[in-house]
């Protein structure tokens, strides 16, 4: 039976695809029959994922490694996508890094690295994706923000600033690209079990759990399900939204 998502044959790019939420989104897209371009910082990880998706779903995958903050590398990736697939239908702009630290203890290089990866990197992809999607007057862009970008959190000023910036970018891009039939939405995950949250102490985990209405952390698959919805025609009238995926978390 055909999937109601109707993503079969669509071309999707996932950034930060090698693990966590990015890998889950890539896997979910592959399961619908989408063709994938996967990018991450290192080729080994993303190649492994591509091979697994090809084996499990027969997914046609283009793999790429590079720094999202490097505009030339990003542009080269889109040229590859254009040469291989001829178009782009979905962008899951997921690449991001954590940058924790208390005010007064934030080295400038760490601040810049977080802002460059999370903000500049996402905008680099937005620019290139918009160009390919405009050609077909359609497309869906899903930007991974965070509950921290909406609510803030102590010790996460830089990360929160970067993720809040992505909400502004998503809302603006939705207005700019809507007339071209391109939808742009942000997702704002809460506490999700990924490599980025593994380092948290048992004490912090307990405290965080007490603030989540559903009483548990989310999984990358649960984030991917929302991304799939936004990527699909089921969300054809949804743009400029920030969708929380946080189990009712309060910060």
């Amino acid at each position: 039976m055909a999937s109601p998502l109707k993503l079969d044959g669509k071309i999707a790019l996932v950034t930060g695809a090698s693990r966590g939420i990015g890998a889950a989104i890539a896997t979910a897209l592959a399961g619908t029959g989408a063709k994938l371009a996967l990018t991450a910082q290192t080729l080994d990880d993303v190649t492994r994922l591509a091979e697994a998706l090809k084996k499990k779903h027969g997914a046609d995958c283009l793999v790429h490694a590079g720094d999202v903050a490097d505009a030339a590398s990003v542009q080269a990736l889109y040229k590859q996508i254009f040469d291989r697939f001829g178009r782009l239908d979905i962008l899951a702009a997921n690449a991001g890094i954590l940058g924790d630290g208390l005010l007064g203890m934030l080295p400038e290089k760490d601040i810049r690295r977080t802002l460059d990866t999370n903000i500049l990197g996402t905008i680099n992809h937005l620019q290139q994706a918009a160009r390919l999607m405009r050609r077909n007057k359609s497309g869906s862009i899903i930007i991974t923000s965070s509950i921290i970008g909406r609510a803030g959190n102590k010790g996460q000023v830089v990360y929160a600033a970067s993720k809040a910036a992505l909400i502004g970018a998503a809302l603006s891009a939705a207005k700019e690209l809507g007339p071209d039939g391109i939808r742009v939405n942000a997702i704002a995950p809460g506490m999700i079990e990924t490599d980025m949250t593994k380092h948290l102490s048992a004490e912090i985990c307990k405290e965080r759990l007490s603030n989540i209405a559903l009483g548990r952390f989310g999984t990358p698959d649960e984030v991917a399900d929302v991304a799939l919805f936004l990527a699909s025609d089921l969300a054809r009238y949804v743009t400029g939204q920030v969708i929380g995926i946080d189990g009712g978390m309060v910060i």
Binding site: Q75, K79, R131, R134, R135
Partner: protein, 81 residues
């Protein structure tokens, strides 16, 4: 259709001009119809028509029909005089 005609067609389509409109003297932001929104529409139209992808610098540099000819030529497309 020659490549020169194809490029002219891209300009007319991006700026919603009549089929016989002259475009070879057009300049970005001096012609009222060629604003930044129309510019991106023009870029998409040319890229699609010729199966090429501009660099960001080329997009910013494409300030006239003459310049567009030159930039399209940089992608190996031969444009007739």
């Amino acid at each position: 259709m020659s490549n020169q005609t194809k490029l002219m067609h891209c300009f007319r389509e991006a700026f919603a001009l009549p089929a016989d409109a002259s475009v070879d003297g057009m300049t970005y932001q001096k012609d009222p119809v060629w604003d930044s929104v129309a510019h991106m529409r023009l870029v998409a139209g040319i890229e699609t028509a010729f199966g090429i992808m501009f660099t960001t610098d080329q997009i910013l540099d494409m300030s006239s029909f003459v310049k567009a000819r030159e930039i399209v030529g940089q992608h190996g497309v031969t444009l007739e005089a």
